[in-house]
Structures are given as structure tokens and as C-alpha cells.
Amino acid sequence: MWTGIDLFVGFIIGPIIGHLDIPARMAFMRRFMPKMLLIMPTLVVATLTSGWQLARRLGNLTVPYPQHWWIVASFIVVGVMAIIAYVVLEPANISVLLELRKPEPNGLLIGRLMRRFIYTAGITGVMQVATLIIMTKLATW
């Protein structure tokens, strides 16, 4: 679900928003972002804890090296994604949301914060692809 929502927002919702005019874009974001702020952190933690349990039950955590490098790689991917989410994406989300609630939102500030999404989208995309590769490897060894 985590990957699915990321890809859906990135490839479906994102381009649609990009084609809306500014007032419509702001109206959409004002309603969309509070829900994402609640859903995404909950989904991330549920995914991590259930993934850990699944790996433990399947015995993936105790495989010897060199296969164990795949497990280590999954820790690194999760760590990078968590850092990006909490350090870049979430603060920008909250800042944009608070700015949009003002009578006269600062368009320059919103634009600058939204650009961070574009900068981090590439890293997040690479991490999503890495996740899919690791999951496929773990499922087929």
C-alpha cells in the first residue's frame, strides 16, 4: 500500500494537480494534505512492524551472508526513506498546509517548499525500485 500510494500520487495525482489552475490546486491541497499527513506515517509504521514480523517468521533475518546483505540493504533503504519522510517531506507538508490556511497564503514560500518534493522524488523513486528488487529477491531465493 505504501509503494502503491506513493506511485499513485506521483504518477496520477501529481500530474493532474500540475494541470489545475492555482486556486483549484490550493483548494485540492487544503483537503488532500491533512488526510495524507494522517495516513502516511501510520501506514509506514504498520508496514515496518508487520514487515519485521513477517521476515522473522519466514526466517529471513537469520539467513547467513552473503544473502544477509539483502536484508542489510533493506534496512538501509528503509532508513533512507524514513529520514527523507521525517526530515524533508513531513515538515514541508505541514508548512504548506499551515500556509494554505492563512487568509493570504505566501505563494513564493509554498512554491519553494513544493520544489523539495521534486528534489526528493528522484531519491524516493530509486528507493521504491530498490524495495521492489529486494522484495523480489527475498521471495525467490
Binding site: 506515517p41 515496518l48 519485521w52 533475518l61 537469520t62 542489510v72 534496512f75 526530515v87 505566501n106
Partner: protein, 138 residues
Amino acid sequence: MSAPAGYTGDTTRSPIIALAVGAIVTAFVSVGYIAAYMPRNASLAVPIALLAASAVMSLGAIVLLTRLRSFAWRLFFNVARWVLALTFVFAAMAEYVFAYDNTRGTPLVILTIVLILAAVNIPVVLGFSVARHERVAS
């Protein structure tokens, strides 16, 4: 307080963010180090050293934060308190998973400290990152 036209927020590099993020990263790396050795028991010297560094950086971030004068404290606490509540719920969930996995002794203590450090630093990062864009009268 509405920002004047042309103001694009405070996006300068901040030592508070650097220290808080550094604290989160070193705490995560300490857990990753232990997990990388599973099922064998890892030496605890490296994770403990990383946790000590993380604690020092956390303290540094909080000290620098308290020394800020012209800062939107109200907005900071508005954001940080809810994020703190959220991260403590998540930390409790993770602690339950570790306990359920029969993690005991020193590894459990290390994991608990990591969760506490993350639960403290994440609200600092989010609260500061949001409040720094707000202009307040000196």
C-alpha cells in the same frame, strides 16, 4: 502574522537541523549494526558509542533551540506536541514488537534508547522546520 511579499521562508542551513538529523541517523545506524549481525550477537561497543554520540547531538540541538530569541515558539509547540504524541505511539508499537520477539537484556535497552531518541528528535525537526518560516517581531 502574515509574511510580507517576497519572503520565501528561512531555508538557511541550521545547526539545529543538522544535529537533530545526525542524532536520528546515528540512532538508526546503531540498530542497523545490531540487526546486520543477526542471528549472531553483535559487539555492543559500537552501538553504545553511536547512541552516546546521538544523545550528545540531541542535547546540542535542544540547547541551541532554547537559545533562539526571535522564533515562533507557539507554532513550534503546536506542531511538536502533536508529532511527539504520534511518535510516542509509534515508539510504543515498536517496543511491543521487540518485546513480542523476546528481545531482552542489553539489546532491548539499546532499542528502547533508540526509540526515545527518535521520539524526541523527530518533533524537534518537524516543529523547528515549520516554525522557522514564520516571521516574528524581534
